[in-house]
Structure formats: structure tokens, C-alpha cells
Symmetry: C2
Subunit: 333 residues, 2 copies
Amino acid sequence: MIQTPYLLFLGDAPDQLAAKVAIGIKDWRPENAVAQFRMSGCGADLGIADMSLQEAKHAGAKTLVIGVANRGGVISEAWKTVLKEALAMGYDLASGLHNLLRDEADLVATAAKYGGQLHDVRVPSVQYPIANGKKRSGKRCLTVGTDCSVGKMYTAMAMDAEMRQRGLKSTFRATGQTGILITGGGVPLDAVIADFMAGSVEYLTPDNDADHWDHIEGQGSLFHVSYSGVTMALIHGGQPDALILGHEPTRSHMRGLPDYQQPSLEELRDMALALARVANPACQVVGISVNTQHMSEAEAKSYLAEVEERMGLPTVDPIRIGSGRLVDALMAL
Amino acid sequence: MIQTPYLLFLGDAPDQLAAKVAIGIKDWRPENAVAQFRMSGCGADLGIADMSLQEAKHAGAKTLVIGVANRGGVISEAWKTVLKEALAMGYDLASGLHNLLRDEADLVATAAKYGGQLHDVRVPSVQYPIANGKKRSGKRCLTVGTDCSVGKMYTAMAMDAEMRQRGLKSTFRATGQTGILITGGGVPLDAVIADFMAGSVEYLTPDNDADHWDHIEGQGSLFHVSYSGVTMALIHGGQPDALILGHEPTRSHMRGLPDYQQPSLEELRDMALALARVANPACQVVGISVNTQHMSEAEAKSYLAEVEERMGLPTVDPIRIGSGRLVDALMAL
């Protein structure tokens, strides 16, 4: 659908977390990331080449992907200057922002003038059903987090990659803009209408071979008051057989909510498992995925060992350590 | 906004539960319900006069309100024949269905021809914010149910009416089509985009006087896999100070989900309270509202007494018994 490779637009992202979309593409499909495009004041850096629109065009980039996720999603005038210049140069645009490219008259006009495509991957393209709760064949794994942006998608991507490397049946199921931009398909869950959320997850993870695992991309957190309803729909629509607990231990408060503290892994385990068993009484918590990117190697190893001892579950950072032990735990179910 | 009084269209509703919208209007604003209009095969009955379009028009009805809630929401051809006849007779139409009146070209054309209005109360009219989780002034009460359609709206309506009768500060906050049709305002929560659900509830229940209570209309159930995400958003966006547990004891399974059993009131209490305290650590479960409409007077009284003894909380059927003891419990907080 979307022409590759990409030039990844970081705009004036305030920090690295805000560039989650671009980072995901760079990490999981590096061959698609020709370069990054940063504006003045940009606080994010993918560690790949910075290029101008013209340079990236010469290097083969076909689509300018907006790799920045802002709360609420806004396409600023400063961004638009760049986006229109890109269209004039022959790029397509792709975006996962709430604020749609197709709703911006000047972008639509410019795209029409130069024959460029505007891809809004956040917009549902399907009329999803209301969830029916019927038990589906095949197996499903979902990562639930103590907070938003703790590495739930990375965990699912890593476990899927590990299973496929072992020759096992596995599919990554994208529920957010990054995953959809990376894999080319999925459900943009946070843009689905409330009544159809759980149904869209059922649609995304249909009947499958008994030994096939869907790795469903998690969203939000049961403990994040802005997005907990989305997480709930994933737990009930996904009817997971296995839950992975996701955690980022260096946060001082819940992301975007200065008055809220992260729950403990024990609280997350108990709450998520009780809710998951409504849809699938056989569900088990099988492991813990910790995002240790803000820790030293020694701190990370010590923290992982401490959590593993305390919780009695395989505990890894799938990026730093690998997800093999989580996959082992799935296979042992 | 919507012209009153109404003729309540029940169509070919399969059963009484499907006519929830019309029943709500008839019960809470009987002065607005001139009559009911039923088609052949209709399994619902409001216990008010049956009238033809012409008879109701002569009796003063201004708007034909579609008082039937179907799963998924469909406007059938059989319905349309009646709706177009009504428009031709000078009625406005109002509907809370997912399938919008404004999306039906023939209804739009007929309305335009005769100057009638099409009101789709389910469509959000506001760009809701993402929830910020900030503590708001004033008090909030939310009913959470063991299942859908157990009387959560009635409980909130009854408590609001009781408080206003006592001269206390109280507002019913509608989150569904019935409540919006009754009160003329609110948030059509099940039609809100996932990311903005909790924010829409914050918007609906803003800062208020310290001694003012919002009675927030509940939706779905944490234990109903089709709609649990909507319930979750109400619990976190509403940041309730008080929870009422809602229950309908005669169901053989969860509404629409034959493979799912209702949870116990204890399970509901523990799950809902733990989740509510994420947003409001002071939250308390203050009472239980049981829908005893399918029980005899003796069965109902015995059941209410048994639950009250078991749970240690004031337990009433607000319709059969009144909601006074629930309001007493709120005032005692």
C-alpha cells in the first residue's frame, strides 16, 4: 500500500519518546528507513543519517512518513511547509496522527497537483463488528503494561520475530500506527468507535491453526486513566491465552499524568489476569518484559534478576537480552 | 433542541429490552410520550396508547422518536416506509441508532422536501479532549453493572430525582441515546472514538460545587466483553467518589453472550473498586441497585434482603422501592 523506502519526518519532536513511530520503523524495518528529517529544536534522534528532502529523494526515498506521535495529534504550519515541499518533489505522505492529512485542504490540493498519495494509517478502513466473545481457535499473546509506551509493541515484534526464526507459526498483529506503518496492515484501535473496539480486535485475530500464535500489539494501560478503555478492549477482544507484563522502571509518574504513579507488577498481574479470565479462563501470565533503555547494563541485569526472583516469572528486556525465554514460556504452556 | 412531545416508534422490536430507549422516555418524561407506534410482530409494549401517525399528530406529537436499540443499529426498509410517511406528515425524526438518519439518502431527501429535522443523538457534536486525569471539584456517582441493561440509567435517574426532590444539588449526566433524548444533552459515549472516551466523560462532568453530585449514566459492564472498554472509560474519566453496583438476578447468561455467566456482586465490587481507585483513591462502593422487574413482590423483597445481608450495603430496586436509601448512603459519605 505505502511505497517504500521512507524518509522519516521527526519535525520538532520534543523528546525521543515522541518519535516512537519513527523509531519503530527504523528498528524493525531498517531497510525502509533511508534517513531522518529533523527541524530546528528537534529533541529526537534515530541515529541514522540526516538528509534534506532532496538528498533523501536522490537516495531513493518514496514516502515521507510522519514519525512523530503528539498527544491529540496536530499538524502545525511549520510542518506543513515541509510536507508541501515534499509533495512538490514527488513524495507520498504517510501519517498516523489523529489530525488527518486528508482533512488539510492545502495538503490535499498540493497532493492533487503533484499526483502524490496521502496515507492516513490511523483511519479504520473496515466496518468492524461488535464483539461476540466466541472462543476462537489458535493461540494469542498480549502484552499489558504498567504504563503507556513501555515497550509493548517491541515485545510483541520481538517474540514474533523469535518464533518465526524458530520455524514456529506466528503473526504480529498491529493495533497502532507504528505497527501498521511497519507491517502494512492492522487495526488502528485508538481511532475505532467505542462500541466496536473489542470487535475490531476479534476481527484482527481470527480463527487460526491450533499451534499458531498471534502476538497482539498492546495499547495504553489498565492503570492509565486516559487510555484504559482501549487496553480493556484488547484484553476482552483478544481473549489472550498468555499475558506478558510490560514495565519501564525509571518513570517518576505515569506518562502524561504527573499526579499518577505506576502500579506495581503485582497489581498489574492481578488486575489484568482477573479481567483476561473473563474472556479466557485458561489465560496465564507467562513472563515479564522490562524496558531497560534508561539503565546501565549492570543496573539492568540486577533489576531483571530482582524482578524474576520476586515474581517467579521469566523476566527479560527483549531488546537488550532477547525474547527467547518469553517464547520458551509460551511453548511450555 | 428536539421538539416535544413525541410519538415513540417501537417498530418490530423483538422484545421489551430492545425498546429500552422508548421505555426510558415514557418512564422519566411521560408528559413527552403521546403514544407508541408498533408494527406487526412487535414484541414490546410501553403500556401507553397505540396510535397511528395521523392520530398522534392530531394529539400533538411533534417528533417521531425511534425508541428501539438494535445491536449494530439498522434502519430497515419496513421502518423507512413509516419514517418517510411521518416526515411527509410534518414530523421531525429523532434516533439514537448507530446507523444514522442523515446517512440515508431517501430520508434526507424526504426531510428536505417537507421541511422536517433529522436528529441523530448518537453522533458526538463536540471534539472531546484526551483525559488528563486531574482531580475535579464536586462529587460524582457511577453505577457499574454485572451486565449490560441491568438498570444503570434508571438508578442514576432515580437518585438524581430523589436528590432534587430533597433540595440537594444534583445533575443526571447522560452517556447514551436514551438519556440524551430524555434530557436533551450528554455524551453519546459508545460512538466516541476510543482515545477520547475518558476525556469525553471528564468533559461531561466538569468542576462543580463541593456539595454537588453528578449522577453519571453507566454503560456496559467490566464483565461484558463486547463493551467493557466503554465501562472502563467511565470509571477512569468519571473518577467517581461513589459506586453503586447494578444487578439483574434473573439472567441465565450475559446479554448477547450465551457462553458467558454474570459475575457475582462480590467480583464486581472488588474489580470495579480497585479500578476506580486508580483515578480516585477515596472511592467507595455505597450501595446496590437490583432490577427486580422479573420477580414477584415477595421474591424481590426476599432477594433484596438476602443481598443486603450478604454484602453489608443498602440494597434497593429504585423503581420498585425507591432510591432514598442509596441517596442516604451518598450523603453519609
